[in-house]
Structure formats: C-alpha cells, structure tokens
C-alpha cells in the first residue's frame, strides 16, 4: 500500500505558460497513475488554480503561436474527478483574495488554516511545494 502524501502547493503560475500546466500538479497526477496516493492543499496564491473559467490566450511571437495554453481549473478538476485526488484550499487564503467558494470548480473542499496541522497526522509524508 502506497504511503499517503499530503502535498501543500503554494508556488503558483510558475512557468505554466512554457509547460502548459503546473509542474507539481502534473507530477502528482503522473505519480497517482503509478500507484501513489496523494492529497493536495492549495494555499497562498495557488488557491487561484481552483477558480473556474480562468484561461489565457496563448503566447505569440512573430508567426509562432501557442495552441495549448494552460487551463488550471481544468487541471484541478482532472485531479478531483479523474485521478480521485482530494483537493483542499485554505479558506483564509481564499478570503484574503476576495474569492468565493462558489467560484471554484466542483469538488474543491475548504480547509480552515487552523485545521492544517491536524491534517498532517493523517499522512506519512508532507511535501511543501
């Protein structure tokens, strides 16, 4: 049985245009496919990953055009629905940014900041990205 890992993702929108996704969410999805057992907590600026309807026009340089620009809400929803990875967002970090829970993709769970240490006890490994 795989070690349960809690992944706190804080670094946000780092190289997502060049990679066309978030490298950590991508890594966790790929590892889950290999049998890992992950849970994700989005905190800090990364809470914005769960906001539905976000998107960006692809980068264009001269005649070169990006055709697969990142869509972070799609990737968060993929974690929840396809990979069965629980995804939490830190409630206070959401409120600090004026984002309502109703703006998030379905299935994202709110987690009060004070509940985070208690969550640590449920996992064999805690990774802070």
């Amino acid at each position: 049985m795989a070690k349960k890992t809690l992944n706190i993702v804080e670094s946000a929108y780092r190289a997502v245009m060049e990679e066309q996704d978030d490298t950590i969410l991508w890594l966790l999805a790929a590892m889950q496919g290999a049998g890992a057992e992950h849970t994700v907590v989005l905190r800090g600026n990364a809470v914005n990953y769960a906001v539905t309807g976000q998107g960006v026009a692809g980068l264009r340089v001269g005649e070169w055009k990006q055709t697969q620009a990142p869509k972070m809400d799609r990737d968060v929803l993929d974690l929840i629905e396809k990979r069965k990875i629980p995804v939490y967002v830190v409630a206070e970090d959401l409120a600090d940014r004026g984002i309502e829970h109703s703006e998030l993709v379905p299935g994202v769970q709110l987690l009060p900041r004070t509940a985070l240490p208690g969550l640590f006890n449920e996992y064999a490994l805690v990774s802070h990205w």
């Binding site: 780092r14 245009m17 066309q20 001269g62 005649e63 993929d78």
Partner: protein
Amino acid sequence: MSRKTLTIALMDPPYESENLTTAFRILDVAARRGYHINVFAYEGAAGLAFVRQTPHPNPVHGKDVAEENHPTTKDQVAALLAEAEKNGGKVDWVNCGMCVDERGVNEFVAGTRRGSPADFHAFVEASDNVLVIPTK
C-alpha cells in the same frame, strides 16, 4: 525617424518562470514595430536558444507530441528573429559564452551568437532604453 534600439537582459532559464513569457511578449511587440533589439542571455537564459530542445507529449493531458505542440524557447527565438527582419529591424541575440559552456548548451539557433559581458556593455551604450529582467 530613426529606429529605436532596445536592449533586454535575461537571466531565467527556460521552463522555470513566467519572466520569459513577459520578456517574449515585449520582444514580440518590439519586433512588430521594427525596433532594433539586443538581447543579452545571461546565466540560465543562455539555454533559451539551445537548438537541441525537443517538444514532448503530455501523457497526463492525454496528448501526443503533435497535439501537445509543446513550446520551445528555441522556436520563439527563431520566430523573433524572423519577425524583426520582416519589419525592417534586427535582433542581435548574444548568448553568454561562459554560461553556455558550463551548461553544455553551445549550439545556438541560427542568427544568435556567442558573446561576453563586453557585448552587454556595448548594447547599453548604444541603446535608447535597457530593460533588465533578473532572476529571483
């Protein structure tokens, strides 16, 4: 009216930050306006024009190489050079020589060249404006 000359110094390596996306957006506009553009690619940015970058598939997204159409900075550099030329400008893209050596990325997109801090100094002296985008 004479063409403006803009110098940009870059430090971030490819695939590590959003700084380069911002830089390429600025460079693209400058090229469309026919500006003369100087780029000093320092430290990690010396890998931007490395010609052996290869696009990859995205198995998490279920896309093969063609569908994923993964961006490579070498293609963006080549497109920048072509766009500037089309609009009557030119790009002098210098890859820091010591930086490329230590990283083993000494094969560049055609039209870029190996250089040194002396080139950056010359760029600064000859430019209407200079933008440094440092790594953090």
